[in-house]
Each structure stands twice: as C-alpha cells, then as structure tokens.
Symmetry: C2
Subunit: 690 residues, 2 copies
C-alpha cells in the first residue's frame, strides 16, 4: 500500500521544526539543526510505526526509541510531548534550565518516560540500542509461546555522523550484524555536517558499504526533507527483514527551513530571531507566536496516542490469558517486570572457611556465577573474548547466537561480545534498560578502561551492570604493564554511584556478588585475581557486604593494616612479622570503599578508629587512599613483566617489607607524638553525621 502524506503530516512536521527552533532560542542553548532536519522522519516513525503509550510508559513490549545523536534531544522531547508522555509544554520551555525535565542531553534519571537510555556521548545510544535489541530477542525466545507473541517490539534508533565515527558504535554494529538482530532499525541522519563543518574534512568513508560488510540490511532515502513516501517505504521494508539489522541512510538538510540550512551554523547554537521569523512564515506559522502546536496536530497525535494505548491494553489482555495457560512463566515474567529478585537467591552464594584451599578470585567468581545462573534467570553473561581467562561462562550455558549459526540460539544467556569492551559496556546498559535483565560480563580489569565512557553512563543512568574484571593487578604476572592496572581502580572508585569491589577471598567474592545483585540501581565492577588467594580467618559474607570490616582485631593495637584483595592475606602475614617485633597490628579488609562509605559513622570509626596510625596496602597507586589511611604502601608507577611472585617481591608487596614500613610508621607516630586522627573522623565532622 503506497503511502500518501496528508496536509496534517506536513503541518505536524512544520510544527516540530518551529517548536525546535523556539525551544533552543528560549534556552539560548542547544542544537536546533538536527531536530529541524529529522522532523519528517520523526513524525513518520512515531505516527505510523512506533508502538508505545505515554499512559503505560513502562509496558514491557513497547517499541524502544533511542536518540543516539542525543544533542538533538529537543526533537525527542517534542515527540514525547506530542505522544502524551509526561512532558508538558512548560517542560519544553524549561529546556536546559536548572531542575528541568528536559536536560541538555536525554537522561533516563530525570523521570521522563520514553527516555529509554541516556545519550549524548556519541556512539553510546546506538550501542545501547544493540543491547535493547538483544534483550528483545532473548525475551522473545524465552517467553513467547504458540499463540502468545508477548515480545515482538522493535528498537528504532536515530544516529548521526558523529555516532558512526565513534569506535564504540563500530564495535556494536559489527556484533549486531553477527547476531542478525532483525528487530533493530537504525536511521542514519546523513546531513554531511559535523562540528568541524562538512564531513568531507574527516569522514569520507562509504557508510553503506561498511554496514553491508557488517552484514546489515542497508537502505537509502535520498530526500529526507520531503520524500515521506520514500521514508515510509524504507521503514516498511526494514520491518520485513527479520534476520538482519537495518540501516537506513537518510539524506537530510540540517536546520531545514533556516536561512542557513545545510550549514554547521545550525548545529549547536540557537537560530537568530529574524531567521526564526522567516522560518515560521515559510511554514505558515504566525511569527509573533511561540511554542505553537496547531489543534489539528494535537488531534492527530491524540489518535496516535490512542492507538498506542490500545496496543498496550491488548497486550495486557493477552498476558492475562497467558497466565491461565502458562502460569509458571507468567509468574516468572511478572516478577522480572516488577524488578524483584527471585526469593532466596542469596542462599546460592557459596561460603568458605580457612581450611578450604586457596583459589583465584576469578575462579571463585566462576563458582558464584554457576550458582547464580541457576538462581537468577535474568542474569545475562558474557565476555569480551576472554571467556577462558575471565571464567565467566557456566557449565551448561547456551550462547546467545542466531540459531542459523548452530552455535547457540536467542534464548542463550551467554553473549560472545568479541574483543569489543566499549560496545560491551554500552550494550550492557541497553540490556539492563530493557527492564528484564541483569547483565554481567568479563574482561581484564585493565581493559574496563577501554569502556569507561560507557561505564560512567551506567552510573549516571543507574543501570545495574556487573563487570567481571579479572587479572586485577600485577598479580597477572607475565603479560606485563600493558595489561596490569595500577590506576584503573582509582578511575572507577571516582565514578559516583558505582561500586568497585576487590574481594580478598571466597566469602568476600560472594559478598561482592551479593551486594552487586542487590544494588538494582548502580553498576558494580568486581576486580578479581588471576593468582590463588587463601581463605581468610575472620571473613564472612555478612561482614564483607559492609564494604569494609575488621578481619582481625587486637587490643591496644599499634597500627591498623588496611588492605584489599590479594594484599589482605599478605597483610595477615605482615602482622605476624610485626608480632615478632612486639607490635600489634589490626587487619582491616576494605573490599569496597563506596559501600563502606555508606555505613553509619560509628561503624566506620570502629573499623578505622583514631588513636593509632593506619597503613593502607594495595597493589595499585596511592591515589584515593589518603581518605582511609595515614600512610600508603603500594605501587609507585607501572608494573612489569615477570611471574607474579617475582613482581610482588620487586614491588615490596611481601609481608617483610610491609612489616618494615608499618614498623617505621609506628615509630614515627610515637616519636612525633602527634595524635593519629582517623581520616574517617574528619570526614564525619563535616558530613553532618557526627
């Protein structure tokens, strides 16, 4: 059926364009060019294809829309307003102002329905959408039954030249092609403009050919300004392709309608007043009026809203029928939609006693994951091509693969991300954003840094995402400093709303998973060793879950040794060395500083009290440690390539040199007669807690 646009379509498109100009002009900040250029495709997509409802915004089978070129968010806010989501015209008028629901780039944490993921940092949204598409495919393969197609939503993504230049998007695109994600439809705003001007200056590759190389279905519409029928036909064709993601290259004119349309001048700054006047005149609007939505446009969108609400209602009715036929599956799915964890899942966590053998924490993690994979079906595992090193795959895991590959199927819960850490991070954000999954994935801790652009967005967007970051220090040995993180922990600890764990033994590894699984609104990174760690006397899941605790208490201590991960056991031995010298050392384990920071002040002061010095010990650099100790002992620069024991010796991370350092610290405090005030005490004085 050929598509014929109506006069209302033209009016709606002109409305979006003028509204975008008004919004950015009022805030005197923002990006009018993209919204004006993509107004036609946005109107067409949301009026003819998108299925979702502002009245039932969390409906699990809604289509997902992602604005990867997030700087053009005025467009998304306008569309959500027209679609009846919880954005008023006043909200649009407060664009980019303090406490507005319409921040400068789309954010999931602003209470605005329909913002599926936080975008703006280029390439992220596109990669998130690959995660949303994987999530849909897995949900469909897991829950759909004959006669009950509970999951069939599409993921629609807008993206621009900037997104396509970012490596994270290249990684995600390659994986999406491999996975044959037919439910993903991406529209590339080929407007030939980036901030530096014409893309001719840096971006001249053949994007269509590149995506064909990734095994995408590729379409082109050469007049994205006016050819609504062409756009309609392209999206319609994309819907028919079920075993490949689709990229539609859409040539648009940035800032369409402006006197300077087609130029970089419309990209990131408001249009001038006289330009907006002529724009409105051109489109038949009164140039004296601002923020105008003609009645016929509101009316048309009311109908669209109703269509979306009807679709949601129909689904809920179907889901009720599903309950009568598949009650267990209904219960399970309802639980996951509600965001509740399975009852009693935590009993799956293994515990250890000191007589148990020494085990690498990556191996301890493998044991936990094998248990949790059974206890928590929403866990979606994976690794960036380091499965055998990260030990992230449980025994009977099925790979998430297109069934035609015979390597797995779409119900598989283990994702082979390939050597694509950044995309993995962004895809995990999308997986979590879908609303049914807790993604976990592995790489070496050092290479979490490749993905940190996505990790900070996990934290900002409050996504529960769990990184299994093995080979956590110089303890990885021979691979050398190119692979040994000495600073990555600091980078991660500095990110707000992220828990960085470095467990010291089996109980602490279980504790790290316990808290990471219970933390429904923040990402966690678990730093795990390659080398074996003994099971500690004094550790427990309960204690470690506080982020920091006294592993070994002594009365009238001369010093506290505070350490994390592999260095805790070394400090236990250092304390024995000190005992020989008549010095009493307490041992504190600090597996997660951010979780420790959230404990009541009395507890924290009981762990790190004033009255004697505290020596921090960790096989990383000192940055960030001064808030927990008086003196730090650790790495002063990069690591080296050698077997791990040789490195621990070289870098003085053995019991003897640690004891020597501790003994000097004790002597210094005795000699200088300065009171050793716990850093916690000072902090408490100004946090309003004590």
């Amino acid at each position: 059926m050929p598509f014929t646009p109506s006069p209302t379509d033209e009016k709606a498109i002109a409305t979006i364009r003028t509204l975008a100009a008004d919004i950015v002009a009022k805030s005197n900040s923002g990006h009018p060019g993209m919204p004006m250029g993509m107004a036609p495709i946005a109107h067409l997509l949301f009026s003819r294809f998108y299925t979702g409802s502002g009245k039932d915004a969390k409906w699990i089978n809604r289509d997902r829309f992602v604005l990867s070129n997030g700087h053009g968010c005025a467009l998304q806010y306008i569309m959500l307003h027209l679609l009846g989501y919880n954005l008023s015209m006043d909200d649009l008028k407060s664009f980019r102002q303090l406490d507005s629901k319409c921040p400068g780039h789309p954010e999931t944490n602003h209470g605005v329905d329909g913002i599926e993921v936080t975008t703006g940092p280029l390439g992220q949204g596109f990669s998130n959408s690959v995660g949303l598409a994987i999530a849909q495919a897995n949900a469909a393969a897991t829950f759909n039954k004959d006669g009950f197609e509970l999951f069939n939503n599409k993921t629609y993504t807008f993206l621009g030249d900037g997104c396509l230049q970012e490596g994270v998007a290249s990684e995600a695109a390659s994986l999406a092609g491999h996975l044959k994600l037919g439910n993903l439809i991406c529209i590339y705003d080929d407007n030939h403009i980036s901030i530096d001007g014409d893309t001719a200056c840096s971006f001249t590759e053949d994007v269509e050919q590149r995506f064909l190389a990734y095994d995408w279905h590729v379409l082109a519409v050469n007049d994205g300004d006016k050819d609504l029928a062409g756009m309609y036909a392209a999206i319609e064709e994309a819907h028919k392709v079920t075993d490949k993601p689709t990229l539609i290259r859409l040539k648009t004119t940035i800032g369409f309608g402006s006197k300077i349309q087609g130029g970089a001048g419309t990209h990131g700054a408001p249009l001038k007043a006289d330009d907006i006047v002529q724009l409105k005149e051109k489109f038949g609007f009164n140039p004296e009026e601002k923020f105008v939505v003609p009645d016929e446009v509101y009316a048309a969108y009311k109908e669209i809203q109703q269509k979306g609400a009807d679709a949601a209602s129909k689904w809920h009715k179907q889901f009720d029928e599903f309950k009568s036929k598949f009650s267990a599956e209904h219960k399970e799915l309802s639980r996951r939609i509600a965001g509740e964890l399975p009852q009693g899942w935590e009993s799956a966590l293994p515990t250890y006693s000191p007589s148990d053998s020494a085990v690498a924490s990556r191996k301890l993690s493998e044991t936990v994951l094998a248990k949790l994979a059974v206890a928590i079906p929403e866990l979606l595992g994976g690794s960036a091509d380091l499965t055998g090193s990260n030990l992230t795959r449980w025994g009977d895991a099925v790979d998430f693969q297109h069934p035609s590959t015979r390597l797995g199927d779409y119900s598989g819960r283990y994702i082979r991300y390939g050597v694509r850490e950044h995309a993995m991070g962004a895809i995990m954000n999308g997986l979590n954003a879908y609303g049914l999954f807790i993604p976990t994935a592995g790489t070496f801790l050092n290479f979490v840094s490749y993905a940190i652009g996505a990790v900070r967005l996990s934290a900002l967007s409050k996504h529960q995402v769990i990184w299994v970051a093995t080979h956590d220090s110089i303890g990885l040995g021979e691979d050398g400093p190119t692979h040994q993180p000495v600073e990555t922990a600091s980078a991660l600890r500095a990110i707000p709303n992220l828990d960085f764990w470095r467990p010291a033994d089996g109980n602490e590894t279980s504790a790290a998973y316990k808290v990471a699984i219970e933390a429904r609104h923040n990402p966690s990174v678990l730093a795990l060793t390659r080398q074996n760690l003994p099971q500690l006397e004094g550790s427990s899941i309960e204690k470690a879950a506080k982020g920091g605790y006294v592993l070994k208490e002594v009365e009238n201590a001369d010093i506290t040794l505070a350490a994390t991960g592999s260095e805790v056991a070394i400090c236990v031995d250092a304390a024995k060395e000190l005992e020989k010298q008549g010095l009493k050392a307490r041992i504190v384990s600090l597996p997660c500083m951010s979780v420790f920071d959230k404990q009541p002040i009395d507890y924290r002061l009981s762990v790190l009290p004033s009255g004697h010095p505290i020596l921090g010990v960790e096989a990383y650099g000192k940055h960030g440690w001064a808030q927990y100790c008086h003196v730090f002992h650790g790495m002063k620069g990069f690591g080296a390539s050698a077997p791990a024991p040789a490195l621990y010796k070289k870098f003085l991370l053995e019991p003897q040199p640690i004891a020597e350092k501790a003994s000097k610290v004790v002597a210094h405090y005795k000699k200088s007669n300065v009171a050793a005030v716990s850093p916690i005490e000072l902090e408490a004085a100004f946090s309003g807690e004590a």
Copy 2:
C-alpha cells in the same frame, strides 16, 4: 620479477617457528601461535622489504614496523635479534622474566631498539601506525626537496582479529583511508582464531569489504603458510599504491607445525614438550637442541643487516649534501632529530596581570597555541571534531589533508581527527614515536575518557602528547552531566607519568604549556574552562610551573584554601567573606598535583604547611584530594544541565558556601584541639625526603 624462495628462506622460516616455540616453552608463558603462523610473512617482509639497521636504530627514515597483535612479541624479538638489533639470544631466553629486555608485550621503554611503539592492548598498535604514517607524510611534505627525498619510509603493521574488532582501530582505519596514507601497509593475520575459539562465534563481518568502505587498497593472500611468492607480490603491489593505505588479508594457520595447529590451544600457552619435538623433526631440526639458529640463517640475515646499514649510510651522506644546499632546513631538521626544542621558544608564552580581562582558559589556550605554532614548528595540532569549541586551530593553520581534497596538504599541521577520540590518542602516540613531532589535540575533558586506553600507553611509553581538554567541569553548563567530568581528573591523576593540569588563569595556562612542552617524556592533559576566568593577583608562570604555590599568603592564617582552575578565583572571594568574619585564609593554587609532588619537600611544606587546617576546593569529586587537604568541598555526584552560574550555585561552589564550610572547619579544629598536621608532612616522613 617473479619471486622465487630459496632453501634458506624455508630454513629461516622454520627457525623462527621453532625459536618461538622454544622461547615460550622456556618462559612457560606467552603466545607461540601467532609467531609460528606469521613466521613466513615476517621473514619475507624483513628480508625483502624492510629498510632499517640495528646498527643505526634511530635513523629517522627507517621503515617502521608495528606489531599490533603484540601478544605475539616473541616473533618481533626474534626478528630484531636476527636483524642485529640489541637483543641477544640470552635476552630471548629471558622472555617474560623479571628485568628482561623481552617483556610479555613489546614496550618502548625497555631500551630495545626497533620497538617503535608499545603494543598488546588490542587495536593500539594499528592506530599508532596510522600516526607513524601521518608523521612520515608530514615530514616528507615539509623537508623533502627536489633531489632530496629525505623521508620516504614505509610503516608496516601486523595485526590480528582482535585488533580489527576494537573500535579504536576502526576509527583509525577510517581516518587513514580518508587521509589516503599510501605509505601504510598493514598485514592482517586472518587465522580465524581468537581466545574464545573460532572467530565464527563473534566476528563474522567481511573485513575486506569494510576496508574497501574506508577507501583502503585491499589485497588477499590465501595461503600465508607457504605461498611466499603470493605474499611477495602482495607487498610489492602495496608499494605501488601511493594514495591509499593497503590492507593485506593473509590467511595463516595459527601455531603452524604444531600438532594442534589451527586451534585456540596454540594461542596463549606454551606447546607441550612432545609437540615441540615433533615440530623440530618436521622442520629438520634436532629435537634435542633448543634456541637454534642455523649458520646459514644468521649468514642470510647478516646480508640483510648490511643492506639496512648501507641504506642508512647512504641517507646520511645525502643528508650531508642537503646541508650544503638547504642549510636552514638542515639545521631545523637536525634540531628536531636531536629532540631539542627551539631556542627561546618560551618567550612566546603570554603573561597577564590582574587588570587584564577575564578570559576562558580554552581561549587562553588558543592564544598560547597560536604563539607556539610559530615558535615550535614540531607542534602538530588537531581536534576530535570540536575545533570551534576546543579553540585548537591557530589562524593560519593548514589542515593535514591529501592535496587532492583541496582542503589542505600533507605539510599541514592541523589534523581533523573526526569524532574519534580513542584513535586520536593512539595516533598521537604514533606521531610522537616517529621522533619529530609534539602532537597536541583537543576534545572535551569528559571524552578524554573514551581514549584513556591510549592515554595510559602514552604514559607507559613516555610519549610527549598534549591533550587540550576543554569544557572541564560543570562550568560547561547546559550540556549537562553526560558531558561534565566529575571523575575524569581523578582517573588521569592516578596514571603514573602523566601531568594533569587545571590552570586558574592566563599565567597558569602559559605555565601548563611551558611544563608540558618541556616534559619530553610524558603526556600532559590540560583541563580548560568554557567559562571566563579572571586574571589572578599573585599568579605567575614561574610559580604555577611548580604545580602548586601560594597565591595569597597571610600571617597567622586560620585556614588554607587549596583549589584548582576555575575554583581558585572563587576561593579568593571566599577568603574575603572569611575576612569579614575575622578569619584569615591563605590561598593555594594547585594546577598540577603530579608536578607539585616532584618539588622538594621544604617547598611543598611551605605551600601546604601544618598548623592550621587545609580545605580543598574543586568542582570535581573528592577522590584523591585527601593527600593535599584535611577537608574537601566539591561535587558529591554527577552534575546537571543548566547555565554554569546556576550550577555553581546549586552545587555550593560559590564564595559564600565555601566560606561557611571553611569557617566550620576552623571551628572544628579549634574545638577539637587536634593539631592540623599537613598531609604533606606525613608523606614526607616516608618518602625519605624529610
């Protein structure tokens, strides 16, 4: 002329293969598969094409070889040994052991000639090689004269599936194609194996088609195990293509010769003893002997060595002739080869006095760059598509572009990197590694995090690379928390051998550039504001160049306010507020903590003395501040989207709330009667300095 391999070629290849197996077996750690698979192409490349000399290893026009699949470094070490570089057979035997010249991945900082860049983190080496190729093209366009082709070297790069999956390499490849870098020849080891097994599980894209999309010249050799003539022909053809980089897809068998050849088992672990026995027998070697290089192989490589030495000699002779005809250019080039800065360059740095107007530090940076672009011709600028925001391009800059684009030429010193931060970081490492350039490039500070995988390698490899990181905090305003770094500074400050600068005014901006330019062996990141900063009373280049200094001294101070960047001026005003309350506040500016840390202890204690409390103030999170202050005042979470002044108010970063906090800190110390010991004093006690 068709190529016919000799029996010595076969012997040499077998030697490389068996040697690789021996090296990894002795160290009981490493990756034999790739060296055994790529032995034929390595031998062919180095015996027939590569021009360089172990005897004159720093010869500036040598061919550059980059092993992007750096885990296979046994291969590179073997080749360097055969080519007469400073690696003995004993060095090879110490592979991956403590203080070996042969670490687990190739490192430039181990004193081994011929290791051009540090590789191993996948995708980096390939991207470095794009930088090496740009450097060659720029050097040629700048210094070559009629009859004097001083620069015509090639860059040869080996890479594997892992590199091709990494986004950083995709970014670099797209840019290399755009720039038409005909001097770059990359050989892709298409062995179909990654750590997770067959690449079928995650990497099924059509690599040849993708590189065609990037406008590369693409060739394929389907038998990389034996078809020496085919490999020869491919490299020869690549040499003939001068306006496109070349990718040669070479199908090899990983671990060729092993009983488990072709499988992931040969990738990252030593071959078993009996496997090595059969391998040696298969190749006509005595299985009882280890580390054997037959005389004929050494002899053949002696000839190759001589060829390289002759080429270098010939070049030096030509360079002497160049001197007589182009003495100014000769002098300039000699200076740059020697790694010396131009005499008196630092007089180009602007200075300011408090009566000068308030200016954004990104704008101050623009002024500096315009001066330095003239004073320091080795400066190569650029930006990741944010030129107009980063203000990195000086007025008369010429873009580095292929002349056919008419957008610039190869002598241009401004690189349009596109929205490719990670590749930009890796390319800058390559540019610096070439030996003639100081690369500087811009992006928003927040997006340096996209590139941090490359940044840490700048630091590890001691590359002088300067990041112009504008929009450095919530001060960027409306773009919101997706673009506002609150943690990035901490990530960068934690990297060893990297200077993170956050200048507070014009003099400090000049100081940051002064130190960054003088620091020939470490990267620097300059965090610069979008918003205007007043010129401070008390700042100077000399003082700020110490990384930290007393901006305003008072006798009998009640408190020190220590701040950086835009918060220094706010603290100056806070001190005025405190004065009204009868409290005396010193002001310390800490533009670069790592440079401050290198100052003598007496100086540091004079800046941050004991005796009164120190309040740290910065529009970032507190992580890392406790080593410089007692209490910190700054961001507790992510930023927000609003005009900058509204954000400074919201987050209590105005004079009044800072004064209030300071006043509470003073009261607390007076009340608690605890001596305020400077954190510097404690540090000094254990650094052996005091």
